[in-house]
Amino acid sequence: MSSLNRRQFLQKSGTGVMAATATGGLWNHLLYAGGNGTGSTTLFESKFGVARESMQKILQIALSKGGDFSELFFEYRIANLVRMEEGIIKDSSERISLGVGIRVLNGEQTGYGYTNDLSFEKMKQSALTAAAIASSGKTMKIANLSEVTRDHKMYDLINPVHELELTSKIDAIERAHDAALKYDSRIQKVQVRLSDEIRFVTIVNSEGLLISDARPQVRLMVNATAEDKGELSTSSWANDGGRVGMNFYKDKTHPEELGKRAAEEAILLLSAVNAQAGEQPVVLGKDQSGVMIHEAVGHPLEADSNRKKESIMWDKMHQMVANPIVTIYDDPTIPFMRGTHAIDDEGTFTQKKMLIEKGKLVGFLQDRLSARLMGDEPDGHGRRENYQCIPIPRMANTVLERGDSNPDDIIGSVKKGFYAKTYQGGMVQPSGKFTFSVNMGYLIEDGKLTQPIKNATLIGTNVQILNEVEMIGNDMGFFLGTCGKDGQSAPCTAGTPTLKIRSMTVGGQA
């Protein structure tokens, strides 16, 4: 029982969690039969035969015991994965998920049922299961469904990866692999994964909402292991992607670049030493330090834990909680990012949400339930892993705004300290104690990066750390990760400039 109620951010979701690859095109005629989130007939009507009248009936059955809100969340997802290891394409996989989750809200209570069988009888059974949460007997009449669409350009569906032939994916994988292997003769083993998915959702609810979304997600990841005189080292997963098509790896991040990045880290780690343990000034590099913001700020500002007065932030609204140079927001609408979505998993249009403005706490991330109970507005942060899960407030793309310091000046201001470069992930407890684990960093001596440092976990308390942010760089980088909360995972990003923390406890050697 080691991770009961903790929120964590991992660079890589568990091995094999994200499974699966289709040879291109074979499913397409099914998928685009009017179900691309814009037509008047949803995929679930056209392909799976769920008539709109049935949806309406099920919504009504879900409210048959009382309850004040019912909702159906239909999901169809195809996720593909190709793996290269030890110089060969080991395998490819394709994972199909189909199902509906039926939710009934009754005050603060949630009843939930799900099924992967979309027949009317099975859906009815699940609806009755969810309905059992209520017992007032007052039956609310549900509104007529009317379809809403959001016109947006947040996903690149022009050259979707899930439609590509396997051979063109293998080409990108091999290029990443070869670049890593060629980087240095000490690179022994290289792993490359290309995962892609297309996820169709349709949400209908008792207020008459009917809305659909079709979200692509792509990620290319490389990991390298180096060996020198019996010493081994492994890089973190160099990766990039988002809600993009294959062009991303042509126009933005080349597969070779990811391979080289992984190899470089593995080689540096061969000569890395342990950190000096104890409190010291810490500089967080721009590329991946969003992990810290995600844990220290993002999770504590999700509305559910504040509504329940569990988060250390619940009673601090409109108070100064950070150094006035700190401004933090979450924006699910940034085009093409891993954490981006046009509507959330409750059908709410997403929007940029300011959390901390010049040091002052100004907002929580809301879903429908918490917003209603707190007298706030839903803001598009209600997300769920899949149809088997209820929506909960989650981050999307969390950003600490650029400051005005030159990154070199930030490093230059530290006489002796620790510089964090790549990460394994982070974790936070509701009480505000959080950690982040650095895979590779550097010792800072006299304002310069010197000795590479391996595996160091840093620990702090969020209310303290936010006041210890002393300098903010004029640069910006994004960490791509998978966030875990209440047993559900969700793709996220977190962005930060180079940051200086006055002092933090670093794990290492005494």
Binding site: S2, A20, S93, P430
Partner: protein, 442 residues
């Protein structure tokens, strides 16, 4: 004992036949079928109730030593046939790998009755009783005034069957159940708050800890941290209580898989038959432990479960192997496709009291958070909470510190092994005393 669903057995077998007909050399089909109930109670009220059933069919095909896999929760014939066709086409684009093949059909000797991993009374127990169980657990905790808040108590139950058929003539199935209850609490004052809790999960209803015992453990864990402070950076002996030893073993388990060995992502690479730990250390994976939460008659490829000695008196004897890793490393499979089963460190002779008494100044480790474990090197660096030991006695609580060391070194520095091993979780260990680790603090 629940009967297996003949229809699902038939589906698995017919998909094997279809795959062969479509040109695959070898086909493996598995179906996971199950139903779950989960209840969340918070501050005395039901917060969430989930009840549902699901099925997923998974495919593995091998053609000319090339592999592809697939799975679907849409079990319509049209989808499944297409899924199989795609997999066979995709396999052709993978690289030939001489180590890829399905296991031969082997006789499953485990007696399901003796294994005791299915208990019908779990599903028969009325939902109201399950709600009551969670409510009672929480109310006992909330009655303790040192407990500031409950994040909620959860009760869960599961019943499901795993089906497997392959082109070597294997067709197997086994049902299992589980029930669980957990609670998570907050203590402390102002901004100096602490979280901890406890939970239990078992295959049989009668094995589940009572609400009283779960509450008692959870209260003890969260209240012992109240008023915790940071301490100085230093090297000291560390005592790990069983839950912390389990956490350490979870990391060891990652490092001892065949896959991490052939990928050279383990500090145990090339160490087979070497003394890698003290003579007082023995580590076992036992898939046949009666009533064990990790027990199963066979693994996810149909290889019979067994009891495997991994580390015997400090000597590395074996790895956790599936069929692929076993062929690659030239060792027999240990029936660990799908992971470890009941993985544990064998008990020693010392009582926990005796172990604490033996430490002059040191840390009694109570909780760890964060990642910070690297299988390739064995390095550990994690956030930690605990109790300070002074003169053989537990004194004040400590928090917001880090604990660092190296698993390879630690295995040789375990000075005492406790006699308090329990088989509750799928990874378990007794209390241990480590000669020295580094505390990062002030």
């Amino acid at each position: 004992m629940k009967n297996v669903d003949k229809q699902l057995t038939g589906l698995a077998e017919s998909m094997v036949a279809y795959g062969k007909k479509q040109g695959a050399d070898e086909v493996q089909i598995t179906i996971s079928e199950g139903s779950e109930l989960s209840i969340d109670v918070r501050m005395g009220n039901i917060e969430k109730l989930v009840e549902a059933g699901s099925k997923r069919l998974s495919v593995k095909v091998i053609k000319d030593s090339k592999v592809a896999t697939a799975s679907s929760s849409d079990l319509s014939k049209e989808t499944l046939n297409k899924l199989m066709d795609h997999a066979i086409q995709r396999a052709e684009l993978a690289s030939a790998d001489e180590f890829s093949s399905l296991p031969e059909s082997q006789k499953i000797t485990a007696d399901l009755e003796a294994l005791q991993i299915y208990d019908g009374s779990i599903t028969e127990l009325a939902v109201e009783k399950k709600i009551e169980f969670a409510k009672k657990t929480e109310s006992i905790c909330l009655a303790d005034e040192r407990v500031k808040k409950s994040y909620g108590a959860s009760y869960g139950s599961f019943e499901g069957t795993f089906y497997l058929a392959n082109s070597n003539g294997v067709s197997l199935a086994y049902p299992r159940t589980s029930c669980s209850c957990s609670i998570y609490l907050q203590s402390g004052d102002g901004d100096n708050l602490f979280d901890d809790g406890w939970g239990d999960a078992t295959r049989n209803l009668s094995d589940l800890m009572t609400p009283e015992d779960i509450a008692k453990t959870a209260i003890h864990r969260v209240t012992r941290l109240i008023g915790a402070k940071k301490i100085e950076t230093q090297n000291v002996p560390v005592i790990m209580e069983p839950a912390m030893t389990s956490s350490l073993l979870r990391f060891l388990q990652q490092c001892i898989t065949g896959r991490s060995i052939y990928l050279k992502q383990s500090f145990l690479t090339d160490k087979l038959c070497q003394q890698i730990a003290g003579k007082n250390i023995s580590i076992v994976d036992d898939g046949l432990l009666p009533r064990g939460i990790g027990s199963r008659p066979f693994d996810s490829e149909g290889v019979p479960s067994q009891k495997t000695s991994l580390i015997e008196q400090g000597v590395l004897k074996n790895y956790l192997l599936d069929t692929y890793a076993s062929k690659k490393l030239g060792l027999p499979s240990t029936g660990n496709a799908g992971g470890s089963t009941n993985f544990y460190m064998e008990a020693g002779i010392h009582s926990q009291e005796e172990i604490i008494k033996s430490v002059d100044k040191g840390l009694y480790l109570a909780d760890m958070i964060g990642q910070g474990t690297v299988p390739t090197t064995g390095d550990i660096s994690r956030g930690a909470f605990g109790l300070w030991i002074d003169n053989g006695e537990l004194t004040y609580p400590v928090a917001e510190i880090t604990i660092s060391g190296n698993l390879g070194t630690i295995l040789n520095q375990i000075e005492m092994v406790g006699n308090d091993l329990e088989h509750k979780d799928s990874i378990e260990g007794p209390t241990i005393k480590i000669a020295e680790m580094t505390i990062g603090g002030k």
